[in-house]
Amino acid sequence: MRAEFAAWRWGLALFALQLVGWGWGLYGVGTDVHQGDVYRIIYVHVPTCLTAFVCAFYLFLCSVYALRKKTEACLLWGQAAAELGLLFTVLGLLTGSIWGRVTWGVWWTWDARLLTTFILGVLFAAYLLLQQALPRGAAKTKASAALGILIFIDVPIVYKSVTWWRTLHQPPSIGGGTMSGEILTLLLITILSSLLFMTWLLFARVKNLRLQQRIAELVSDWH
């Protein structure tokens, strides 16, 4: 099942779905009365950021599993989730920066939303460094899992940062009734397809890491 989902055709199909959503966002859906056409980057920015959150959630799940079952089988899943989390956090920061330059007037400002998101990216990087630094064994599994769980604490903080503190970033739109129906519908579709595509990337990456590990084992047996 896993190997099948990691197949190319699934990845292509899910990325095609994402492209259709973005195409609809560019040419199909109406413009925004306040921001004009620049708002259309929302269909890239918001799904990207929410996908980074879900990467943290996947990392949390496999960390809890690793601790409970005392197994290092989850380390590869953790690595893949953290890599994707870092990738989507960076993409979220970049797309947000471009959007901010046009609407706010600045590329970057240290408000609570940007700061906590930046911290999320640093935490994913720290997790990857930790895994790389430790030798295989129970200590590595435990330490990685502990950090993997702690990282998830930042997610609700990032999400609530715009309501807890005064920020330049606006409060959340989804669920607030502040979006036209067609904008909200397409946003939810692009979020869903982004999550599905990331999940495919996760499976494909784990398959890849397993092969890499197997090759390393074969090579060390040879010597």
Binding site: G30, H34, T103, G105, T109, Q170, P171, S173, T178
Partner: protein
């Protein structure tokens, strides 16, 4: 032994969450002040680089194109008005009635702000043109001056 570890682990997480929520209540993390706050005598703002957030008063924007000078009144609609003097091009979304956060030096006696960075704070509303339920202004005011 096993159970102790889980309990200690959970306690650490709870402690971090509690610490962070306390941090949240701490007023020291202020990204910008409101106009009312900077007029309070106990807040020392003289000579300090600070940010103030408010609304651009309708009818107050003056542009001096030759000199790239922009002057407008920032208000909280409760009598706390600040004359903002800014040099440079404003962001695209800058307009009368819009929310702004300005960074620079505030002179309480003159009620003026010498701004070197001007940022627009927009609301979380996204509406297509034929959708008429607009409430942009209330959302913005709540977001800037609400807490």
């Amino acid at each position: 032994m096993k159970k102790t570890k889980w309990i200690v682990g959970s306690l650490v997480i709870v402690a971090v969450v509690v610490a962070l929520s306390l941090l949240k209540l701490d007023d020291n993390i202020v990204y910008f002040y409101t106009p009312r706050e900077v007029f309070a005598p106990d807040l020392d703002v003289w000579g300090k680089n600070i940010k103030i957030g408010g609304m651009v008063k309708v009818g107050s924007v003056q542009k001096d194109m030759a000199d790239m000078r922009l002057t407008f009144v920032m208000t909280d609609f409760k009598g706390h008005d600040i004359v903002v003097q800014h040099r440079g091009t404003p962001p695209d979304l800058f307009k009368e009635g819009q929310g702004v956060v300005t960074e620079g030096y505030f002179d309480r006696t003159q009620k003026t702000m010498q701004s070197h960075t001007l940022m627009v704070k927009h609301s979380e509303e996204y509406r297509v043109p034929h959708d008429t339920e607009m409430q942009n202004k209330e959302l913005l005011i709540k977001s800037i001056l609400g807490n």
